[in-house]
Structures are given as C-alpha cells and as structure tokens.
C-alpha cells in the first residue's frame, strides 16, 4: 500500500469511530432535542469498560478479565447504557437543561475516576498491552488496518440501519412530535419523560460502542483520550452534518475530522513554530464559532433534516 492509501485507511477508521458516536448523539439531539454536554464521559465509560473487561490480568489492578473482545465490547456498551440510565432518571423528569448540566458533570466525574482510581483504570498511566482483536491473523499492520476498516464499515452500517429503523418507527415519530410540540404530545397522553429516557439511553449506547472500538484499535487507553475538547468536536460533527439526519451525521464526522487533521497539517507546514500555539488555539476557537454560527444561520445543520422524515412525522 502506498503511504497515502495507508494513511487514508487509518484516517477512515478513526473517522468512522467518531461517526458511530455522532449517530448516537443524533438520536439524542437531532431526533429528541436532548442536549448531552458530556459526550466524552459516555465515550470514556465505553472505552474503559471494554478495556477493563478485555485487558490482561495485572497485579495491583482490579480489572483485567481477559474476556474475548466482542464480549468486552458488549460489556462496555452495557456500562454506558447503565450510566445514561442513572443520569437520565435523575434529571429527565425536570427541566430539560438539567440534563445538559448533569451530563457535563458526568464527563468531569468520569475523568476524575479515570485519573484517580488507579486500581481500576490504571490512573494516569492508563491501561497498556490490550490485545488488538484479531491482530495475529494478519501478517502486516497494513492488512490489519484494512480488516479493521472492514469491521468498522459493517458496524457503522449496522448502527445506521438500526437507528434509521428506530426513528421511522411509530416510536421515532413520537420522539419528533415531542421535540416539535411538547404540549400537543403531552395532550395525547404520552409519558414524555419515559420517552426521553429511552432515547437518551439508546443514544448513549453507540457512544459507548465507539469508545470500545477506539480502545480495540489503539490498544491503549488513558485519561488523556477523553479531554473536554472532544465533546465540542463531536458536536461540531453533528451540527455540520445536520442534526436529525443520520447520513449527515456520518458525513459530518468524516468532514470535520478531515478539516481538523488537515488544518493541523497546514499549520505545521505554513505557520512558524513561534506562532503555532496561537494557531492551535484559533483552530479550537473556530469549532466554537462554527457551533454558534450554524445555530444562528442554519439550525438544521448544513445538510438539514431530510424531508422524508419530516413528512412521516406529520
């Protein structure tokens, strides 16, 4: 494989991991109007859950159960779902912004546990030596990455189709109805809090899955993987692609991540080293501006909500 192709495969793997995460977020925000301000926390729960279940046994660590990777992945997803259930139960019957505040706090809490609870998470050293699933079957890293990309394609398609089916079902149409007009939906006698809780938990599970996949691909996990900036990046992916549009969510993941990495490359080539720290901060600033401007100018995202879904909701 040529260098560029090899990099492209690598890039697409990472972007599709983010794509899975954005799909989950889209169910929460795009279809239900729930603002998850701590995406990175749920991502981290999935990642650590998977790493602890799949990792090799180590002295001085609680985890390291050595489960097969697919089982560990399911475990990580389950852990994320349970965390979302707890946060949702505490807040979703209240004002909607309480969920935002609580999820923001969840992300900080998870980060603290990752850093401080050394016996479980390896602390700041992280968890090393996680086996990359199926690595032994392949002669070269290039072939392995192609295989991993294939797995990712299957998983992205599965999550995509499952979510599409969900939002087109009567349940999904109800979600949109609640988002559009809460009073009307309530007058139909629907239990709105429960509906929101279901959507929130269901949307968190792909986010946890993405965390587990990241761990599988990198073979290592540490608290540094879950900096708050990631939450903003994932939100930018969703809002660029268009909330309420699953294909747009995927496109946003690839597009924003490409922009992010390419601007990093451009900065390293064009900007003198002395100015690079400013340039890096401007990169982050643009993410914030992007969110604000899209909300102001095109709240439906760049691609916008698909007409078909809206029609069905009527």
């Amino acid at each position: 494989m040529s260098g560029f192709a090899s990099y492209l495969v690598f890039f697409l793997i990472v972007a599709s991991i983010y794509g899975v995460m954005v799909l989950g977020l889209n169910l929460q925000w795009g279809y239900t109007g729930l603002f998850n301000a701590g995406v990175v926390g749920f991502y981290a729960i999935g990642a650590y859950g998977t790493a602890i279940l799949a990792g090799p046994e180590r002295e001085a660590l609680v985890g390291g159960f050595g489960l097969p990777y697919p089982l560990a992945l399911l475990g990580g997803m389950a852990a994320t779902g349970v965390a979302a259930l707890v946060v949702g139960l505490a807040t979703l019957r209240l004002r909607a912004e309480y969920l935002a505040i609580a999820t923001f706090g969840t992300a900080i809490g998870v980060q603290l546990v990752a850093v401080n609870f050394e016996r479980l998470t390896g602390g700041v050293n992280g968890l090393i030596g996680l086996t990359r699933p199926g690595f032994a079957w392949f002669g070269t890293p290039g072939a392995y990455n192609l295989f991993f990309l294939g797995v990712m394609a299957v998983l992205v398609a599965a999550v995509f189709l499952a979510l599409e089916a969900a939002v087109r079902s009567p349940w999904g149409r109800l979600l949109k109805a609640v988002r559009e007009d809460e009073t009307a939906a309530r007058s139909l006698g629907k239990n709105i809090a429960r509906l929101r809780l279901q959507a929130f938990v269901l949307g968190s599970i792909p986010i946890g899955l993405a965390g587990g996949l990241y761990v599988g691909f990198i073979g290592y996990v540490s608290p540094l993987d879950f900096l708050p900036i990631l939450t903003f990046q994932v939100w930018a992916m969703l809002i660029v692609g268009g909330s309420g549009n699953n294909a747009g969510a995927l496109l946003g993941a690839v597009g924003v991540w490409a922009l992010w990495t390419m601007s990093g490359l451009a900065i390293s080539r064009l900007v003198p080293v002395a100015w690079q720290s400013q340039a890096g901060a401007i990169q982050v600033l643009l993410i914030g501006l992007l969110i604000v401007v899209v909300l102001l100018v095109r709240p439906q995202g760049l691609l916008g909500e698909r007409a078909t879904v809206s029609r069905e909701a009527e």
């Binding site: 603290l112 050293n125 890096g280």
Partner: protein, 424 residues
C-alpha cells in the same frame, strides 16, 4: 519520491567509490518528524522543546546533513491529546515518510503513538520527556520491538538521589506534593520508599491534578502532620501556583524540587527570595565540553540559557537519531534502531553536540571508526528497554533568581545511592 532520489544518489556515489563525499550532494532531503504539544496542557514547555530538536537538526545540516542528505525537520502539534497525536504521527510516517519520530511529551500521547503507529510501521521513536514506567514494562514484554528509546532517565534514580540528599541535609519529616501524572506518581513513589529506607518520615503524599485553578486544598492536606520540608514534583506553571500557596500558608521553605521545575519561569513566579533553601535535581553533566557546547550554541541561537524542562533531553534525542541515521547510511527505521546501539555507550571516540561535534562524528563514521555520543545530558547509554541511565546534578537558585549548578552525581554515585536503599 525525495527518498528514492536520495537512495539513487547514495547508490550512485557508492558506485563511484565516493561514499564519504555523499553529503556534499545537494538537493536531497530526509525528513524527520516530531510530535510535541505546541498547544494544550503542555504548551508552556512544548514549543521550546521543539526548538531544541530544530537546533540539533540545524547543527547536523551545518555539518553536512545525515545519510547523504540534508535533514528536513517537521514538527506536528498533538494538542496534548492522543487522538490528534496519533493522527499527526501517522501522517509523518505515511505521507512525510519519516524513519524517526521524536516525542511525544506526555506518556499518554507517546504510548498510543508507539503501539499503534511507530511499532507497526517499524519506525524508531525517541522521546525526550515521557517518563512512565509503563514503557519499560511494555519493552520487557516485547511490545516495543526495540523501536522505543527515551533520553531522560527514569524517575527511580532521581527520586532516590533526592531522598538521599534530603536526609544528608537533615530533613526528617517531608511532605510530598506531586503532579498526578505518570511522571509525578512514579517519582513520588521512588522518593518515598528511599526516604523511609533512609530513616526519614514522609508525612503526606498529596497528588494534584493539573490545571486546577487552586491547589489550596492540596497544600492544606500536605501541611497536616507538620513537615519540616517539602518535595515538590511538578511542572513550572502548576508548581509555582502550588508553591506560592505553600509558602503563603506557612509551609517551610526547605524545598526539594523535581527536574521539570528547573525553569526560569518557575523561579520568576515564585520569587527567588523564597527559593534560597531549595535544591533541585536534573539530569545533566555538570561541566565538560559536551554541555558547554550545547549551552553556547543555545545562547547564540536564542539569546538565553537553555533552562527549561526537556531541552537537553530533546536535543540529545534528535542528535542520537541523526547520528544513527548517518551511521546506518539510510533513512530507515529499523537500521536507525540498530545503529543507535552502535553510536551510544561502547568504547568509541567521544563526539559532542554542535556542528563541529557532528562534523567530527561524520568523519569518524566515514572512516569506519567507532564513535560514542556524549550529549547535552552527558554520556548516553540505552539499556535493553530503551531507557537511559545518566549522571544527575543538583541545582539551586541564587539571590538574583539565576539558576545555579551544585553537586554532581556520577553514574557510579547514583548507582551506589540506589543500591543503598534498594539492596535487591
């Protein structure tokens, strides 16, 4: 493409029987890359570390380049985040075709780069700054395949020497405040074990998380138990904040400071008047031509003394990479990995930092003579896991705020101190 051009040029010159003159060829370049935190939580120290690598490349180019070509240095920012760091490393390896990666700073970034980029692509990775014991463990398990090196000594000898020094100064009850990172945790652990083995009492071990707004609670916790001294393991910015609060709230100014605090910024923020009783540690040769060579070159280039964490170790990381590339005669990760063993340690002729030193090294290598790089941190020797052992120095702060150099701990003396507390 540039690489194949280089290879063609080299091949051509070998055929012409003039391999030694290959460096005189112009127009070809080898890339080498670094992944460092130019932004993010390590930004305060990152760009100066990048300067150190660039300086080594400049020196090598002034001496005629390496492996027949001029060297092009590419610095990528990891933003203090592993996902950005691995992407940057992957571009360097696949698109820029670098045979060597320098960096990263934080272990949490270096580790995923190593496992998911460097080792699979057979690219040698040399870090200036990542001190986690996890790398040693991974190397022992065979996970690094020898592609991992780091030019800073692991925390253990530094912790032991500081503990020994503290006991020599008569400190009996010491509190430890350390940054909650791989670096801080392992340094604090080594210090505590040694200090207690030497008959001292550690009254409290308080970790702090980076970039907190205030460390008052941590300082209060460390002040419990009435310590007579403090061992502070921190980076300059957070370290200054914590130490200011420590002093303001009545903590003793008998201080033991970790290597990362040897920075002008730290002294300025705290105030030299409170640092008269401070003793810090760092890895460097106290004097001698190799250290003078770097200090002079740095002053000439940047107009200041190279006081900051990671500068000397980064210069050496880059120098080792480039000399190994010259020795290997090709910009190839595996060849460089193996050549590193040939130009460090051993019994060859000593060569020093700077353009003249590198030119001398190139002459000797061209003549087939063995060389041994004695760098900005003294003589460098990697063990089987890619870790170095090196001499240490004790530094202090003069009344005018300048950093002074005190006691010198040779390799032998460090080994003795380690053996004294850890007979195993």
């Amino acid at each position: 493409m540039t690489r194949s051009l280089c290879l063609a040029l080299i091949a051509g010159s070998v055929l012409a029987g003039s391999a030694g003159l290959a460096s005189a060829q112009t127009g070809c370049t080898h890339n080498i890359g670094a992944v460092l935190s130019i932004t993010g939580s390590m930004a305060a120290i990152g760009s100066a570390i990048g300067d150190a690598a660039a300086l080594a490349v400049e020196h090598m180019n002034a001496a005629g380049g390496a492996a027949g070509c001029q060297i092009n240095f590419i610095l990528r920012d990891d933003q203090g985040a592993p996902n950005v760091g691995i992407d940057a490393a992957k571009t360097l390896v696949e698109i820029e075709r670098v045979p060597v990666l320098l960096g990263a700073i934080q272990s949490g970034v270096s580790m995923p780069i190593l496992t998911s980029v460097a080792v699979p692509a057979k690219v040698t990775q040399i870090s200036c700054c990542s001190s986690a014991p996890a790398f040693t463990a991974l190397a022992r398990e065979g996970g690094t395949q020898g592609y991992w090196f780091r030019t800073l000594p692991t925390s253990l000898p530094q912790g032991v020497v500081m503990a020994t020094l503290g006991r020599e100064k008569g400190y009996g009850r010491t509190a430890i405040i350390h940054v909650n990172s791989d670096y801080g945790v392992s340094m604090a652990r080594a210090f505590k074990e040694a200090f207690e083995a030497l008959g001292g009492t550690v009254t409290a071990v308080v970790p702090y998380n980076q970039e907190q707004a205030s460390y008052r609670a941590e300082v209060n916790a460390a002040l419990q138990g009435e310590p007579d001294s403090l061992f502070l393991v921190a980076f300059p910015a957070d370290g200054a904040t914590a130490l200011r609060e420590w002093i303001a709230f009545g903590g003793p100014t008998r201080l033991l400071l970790s290597n990362a605090l040897r920075a002008d910024e730290f002294v300025r923020s705290v105030g030299a008047e409170y640092l008269a009783d401070a003793a810090g540690i760092d890895n460097a040769q106290i004097a001698g031509p190799s250290v003078d060579a770097l200090n002079a070159a740095w002053a000439a280039r940047f107009g200041a003394a190279p006081n900051g964490p990671g500068l000397h170790t980064m210069y050496d990381a880059a120098a080792v990479a480039l000399l190994a590339m010259e020795k290997a005669g090709a910009a190839d990760g595996t060849a460089i990995r193996d050549a590193i063993r040939e130009i460090t340690g051993g019994a060859g002729t000593e060569v020093f930092p700077g353009p003249e030193g590198f030119a001398r090294a190139k002459e000797l290598i061209a003549a087939g003579q063995p060389v041994r790089y004695v760098g900005a941190t003294g003589p460098i020797a990697f063990d089987a896991n890619g870790d170095v052992t090196g001499p240490l120095l004790i530094w202090g702060v003069a009344a005018d705020g300048s950093l002074t150099v005190g006691d010198y701990w040779s390799n032998e003396r460090v080994a003795e101190a380690v053996a004294a507390v850890n007979p195993g």
